[in-house]
Symmetry: C2
Subunit: 313 residues, 2 copies
């Protein structure tokens, strides 16, 4: 199948997960969960987003969280930012990398950032310039890249246009996000192969949601196109407002289990991830759900019944 031997899984639960929780999660609890996530061996963790507390109240203690978490060596702390103010907070909080928020379609961008896609990019040049004066790296994203809940399919020309702008800005690390789980392996392959060909110096990653049951298939399609970076969320925490009870982020334990079963190294300790997921399930029983939590690993074998019951006629 021409699959990569090794991939990097970025844990996004502290950002994409926590922001969907109803009510307030105490800072202490957040810090403890993030520290447990570090123990699993993830090399990159999206620890928070620096957005306005009125927009995402669950992230209002972002600065405090960043002050108190451990900072294991070799682990990249990434934060999502919507604008220059977010960057300043990220610099102050000493994150390693920021990810710029952007939607592929104008409708989604208007809803999420109060501006059309290219208007929402206006700030990006100043962000890049400011970041260059620091050690903070800048990556970016394209949300609803594989389908928009308002507009449906996203034409490939749109991605090319957006990436050209990113190229002008010197941003080459792009997270392609299936924000509402509308991707299929066919459009994953089309988008990834086209963009990789047109922007050979870019590094693309995939952020997949399992809203319509295709996330793992989409991950495999990504692998087949040479993608080696994937986001996921422990316990599957994190959904999407357009389908309130549906599955959200692909669960870290599910993608890690699947990849490892396929012989692809993730360098994350699956058992520790499952332990964190179980811990999260105790804290947020309504929000935590994953296949591996319910079914166990392939390697969790059952004991063959010694005394066979008679079945059949």
């Amino acid at each position: 199948m021409g699959l990569p031997k090794e991939v990097t899984i970025t844990e996004v639960c502290p950002r994409d997960g926590f922001q969907t929780l109803p009510g307030e999660v105490p800072t202490d609890v957040k810090v403890d969960i993030i520290n447990r996530i570090f123990e699993c061996g993830f090399k990159q963790v999206e620890v928070t987003s620096f957005v306005h507390p009125k927009a995402v109240p669950q992230m209002k203690d972002a600065d405090e969280v960043l002050k108190r978490i451990n900072r294991p060596e070799g682990v990249t702390l990434r934060a999502l930012i919507p604008n220059l103010r977010g960057l300043e907070r990220a610099i102050e909080a000493k994150v390693d990398k920021v990810k710029l928020m952007l939607s592929a379609t104008d409708s989604h961008s208007l809803n999420n950032a109060n501006a059309k896609t290219f208007d929402a990019m206006k700030d990006f040049e100043a962000i890049v310039k400011r970041a260059e004066t620091t050690d903070v790296k800048v990556g970016a994203s394209i949300s609803v890249a594989f389908g928009c809940p308002y507009e449906g399919p996203v034409p490939i020309e749109r991605h090319i246009e957006i990436c050209k702008r990113y190229e002008q800005l010197g941003i080459t690390e792009i997270s392609l996000a299936d924000t509402t789980g509308m991707a299929t392996p066919v459009n994953i392959k089309l988008v990834v192969s086209t963009l990789k060909e047109k922007f050979p110096s870019f590094h693309f990653s995939l952020h997949l949601h399992n809203t319509r049951g295709m996330a793992f298939a989409n991950a495999v399609a990504g692998l087949e196109e040479g993608i080696v970076d994937f986001d996921s969320s422990v316990g599957g925490l994190g959904g999407c407002p357009y389908a309130p009870n549906a599955s959200g982020n692909i669960a870290s334990e599910d993608i890690i289990h699947g990849f490892e079963e396929m012989g692809i190294k993730t360098n994350v300790d699956l058992d520790k991830v499952i332990d964190v997921a179980k811990h999260l399930r105790e804290l947020f029983p309504e929000q935590i759900d994953s296949f591996i939590l319910k079914a166990g690993k392939n390697s969790d074998l059952h004991i063959a019944p010694g005394k066979q019951k008679k079945i059949g006629e």
Copy 2:
């Protein structure tokens, strides 16, 4: 991706689904559901299994169900049988095709059929000979083909051995079943490509469970290997006793939605399937679950908010 343009989806809810329901489903209800399934356009339906009522009490009215359902032209009625007695009942009930039950591993076979794999095949020659005197076609299956809950991985040599025996018996239609959802795209591709190469006259289909979230990825792997026949169950009805609360059969609405979104024709009316799934959810709320039931189709677009709320700082 070299995908087939068209596939056949076999609806297995009346067999694999009903057999897992707790309590008794009235014959009337079964007949009504099967008739609704026919209305969706499925060209093959696994309507029941002719097993001993003590082994699977939910199937004790199989003969009566077959007497009372509609028989739309061009639809193949398939039934699972464990032995010669099952065949006689299937002939009497005028099904079009029987599917022989068989497990890839001795442990699973002992548990399911009270005999090791090759011992369980002893009856098969008599079954084939008897069926040849009728219009009933004989297909077969290999359960736990991609992983056994007792033994783990199944060596490819085992499948070759089993298929050789099927070849001697003149049985060439084989359902490869991921009974407990342990398959990955890698072993789907290995098993399917190897068996197709060694048994070029065989017709293989895939029966996939979503126990560990990989069913759709496995279906896509099957497509890539030229598989054009897939089983699925409306509303995802049908689980596996080894993981009681886990997902079971891939839901018909999920696989049909995914395939159609990939441009692959299923010739089944997805909206009607969703209606049947909703009907089943009313009848069996605890047992029915699918991604599309919760999230809707990709094409169910949302109305972009006219007045945008301000987000970001």
